[in-house]
Amino acid sequence: MKSTWKFFASVKLAIVLFILITLASILGTLIPQGRSAAEYTARYGGSSGLFVSLQLTRLYQSFWYLALLLLFALNTVVCTVSRFGPKWRRAFGPAVDANPQTLMTLKVKNRFRLALPIAAAKDRIAGLLRSRRYRLTESTTASGVVLLARKRRLGRFGSDVVHLGLLVILAGGFTSGLGGRRAEVPLLEGQTADVPHAAFQVRLDKFETEYYPRGEVKDWKSTVTVLENGAPVLTRVVMVNHPLTYRGFSFFQTSYGWDWDNPRFELEVRKRADAAFSKTVALKVGERAPVDDADVSHVIVRQFVPDFVIGEGNQVQSRSQEPNNPAAMVEAWKGEERVFSGWIFAKYPDFGQGHTAGQSALAFVLKNYTAAPYSVLEAAKDPGVTFIWLGCVLVTAGFFLAFYWPPREIRVVLEEVQGKIEVTTGGQAAKSRETFQSEFDQIFESARRPA
């Protein structure tokens, strides 16, 4: 037990862990994380199996990386606790090691005699120390009086506060990982959806994209209403950098798009032989739309894509969500006879019309294509976040204490020697020793020769 404690109390272990965590973290930035198995096979060939079984492809969530972090946490706890007692006594304890010989070995020191009664000498020095914001602890020994003056005592605990903050952050990280719930909620305008893991719903009232004058995206704005049992509770605009928080859930604007699976469009039917003929029908994918003409009874659109491209395996795909190259697979029927079948392109109306049916007598124009915009909100309930912010505050405060609140300590021994009071004093400061030296000198100059 004792040796285990010693093992974890060692700063050498901390150094080893610093180095191991650093190296592991570097490795994780060299191997792309969380990709598909196929991508790893393409990248690493036969050794990809080894990568996966060593969890190198999800390294930061791997058993061994988390184990390193836990060891690091344990090491931090034990190191901090084992050094805390002596520090606490140094800062707040009443015990004073006030051997004048020891004091005279310090770098900042002084020794002089005052022709005053001991109580008056003590009061004078104590007053000077107090006016410089030192807190005094007084004790009486066989040979005289000892004053222990300390200020900025909390400065000793800077590193402890940083360590505590780091532990709270790590606890927050584990809490987020284990207890965090997040889900993407895609919503069309007007649509209401249950929030996963929550007892309320959200409705997207409106979604708009704002642009800068030169066309770059300025903002995505989702107007969202929270509903409890069907009744609206509050309405807010959710934007990137402006999440909505309700009952422990936060809603972030993460993505957007258009519902091209349910596009709306119009098809104009023309005849090559009859320039005067034109009939426009509005229709949906897969729906028979009557044209009611002697040459064409009805049309059907079998497929619609907003950004036509021939992908792998000669499959028609959409390159993007943007309507860059809208195309529709159109069939025209004359009763039971299919008179046209082929892709038509909104932006290239003359391209390819009639490739299947030879020189078709019919021509088509794809017009007024739109799709309902949708917004994707990320709904997150992350109980770890509170710990994270608390830990961040502690780390910041700890750094302030450690670097900018250096403790100072002055010990004064007053003894009666040959009818006078001999004052022996020595001081220690954790940082900025020159300013401390000048403060020390001023205090004891004034003690010797009061103005």
């Binding site: 973290s25 570097i26 930035t29 930061y60 997040r182 770059e216 903002d219 402006h242 972030f252 302030f400």
Partner: protein, 262 residues
């Protein structure tokens, strides 16, 4: 005056400071070094004006692309030099830091860096842009001071010089490390949470900030608890700076991730 004119004037002052600094070093006229510092400070005035003008014209914080952030980083290094340069008795600090400043400004001015001010994408529209980037780069500027003094330590010949350089390196880390932690990691987490909905995603830039943080934590622990000083400390500080440099530059060009702005 336009922003680029002000920036060019600042550059000229920095080059003049560099020349005067090196002249004072080689001619062993320490009084000239004060003139070098004054020239750097004059350059800083014009540089500050250039940054303010760019902010006014673009309506956003002047660190949204590589040109802007290099400009701000070089500004921060000059600030760090002025903070330390007046008190410290290390004559070589000024010349070598100014060499880095002139290098950074030259890189910012090079055709590699597009200078156009583009409107902010939604993710960057936040006051955290100011806090996160400025405090982080300021921290990295102090790491640069630690780097230069550590290199000078390794090259120093006398014990007296070594002692001063070792102390300077530690003091620079003592300023840079809290700033980097606060700006880079803490403000970064707060902003990531607001913009992306998650305070930590193990994005390469985040991981490399953490690595940088670990190296400087190693520096402090080996020094304060294990009593390392001098050569070993200097090497750790140099490694820390290189990690910070990779976080700043390398990640953008070599590793893909969410953090693809600058």
């Amino acid at each position: 005056m336009t922003e680029s004119t002000l920036f060019t004037i600042a550059f000229i002052f920095y080059v003049a400071a560099l020349l005067v600094d090196f002249a004072s070093l080689f001619a062993r006229r320490e009084k000239w070094a004060r003139n070098g510092l004054a020239l750097a400070a004059a350059g800083l005035v014009f540089h500050t004006a250039a940054l303010i003008l760019r902010t006014v014209v673009s309506h956003h914080a002047p660190f949204t692309n590589m040109y802007e952030s290099l400009s701000f980083l070089s500004w921060a290094v000059v600030v760090a030099l002025i903070v330390f340069g007046r008190k410290t008795q290390v004559p070589k600090l000024g010349p070598y830091l100014m060499l880095i400043v002139v290098g950074l400004v030259a890189l910012a001015s090079s055709p590699l860096m597009p200078k156009g001010a583009t409107p902010l994408v939604p993710a960057l529209q936040s006051y955290w842009l100011w806090l996160h980037v400025s405090v982080t780069l300021l921290g990295e500027a102090f790491f640069t001071v630690a780097f230069v003094s550590s290199l000078l330590y390794l090259a120093a010949d006398t014990e007296e010089k070594k002692e001063k350089l070792d102390a300077l390196s530690y003091r620079a880390v003592a300023v840079g490390f809290p700033l980097f932690t606060l700006g880079g990691l803490i403000f970064g987490m707060v902003w990531a949470y607001r913009a992306w909905g998650s305070y930590w995603t193990w994005d390469p830039k985040e991981v490399w900030s953490l690595i940088t943080w670990f190296v400087f934590a190693l520096y402090l622990h080996t020094r304060v608890v294990m009593g390392w000083k001098g050569k070993r400390s200097a090497i750790v500080a140099i490694l820390g700076f290189l990690a910070a440099l990779f976080t700043y530059f390398g990640v953008n060009y070599l590793l893909a991730g969410l953090h693809s702005y600058a």
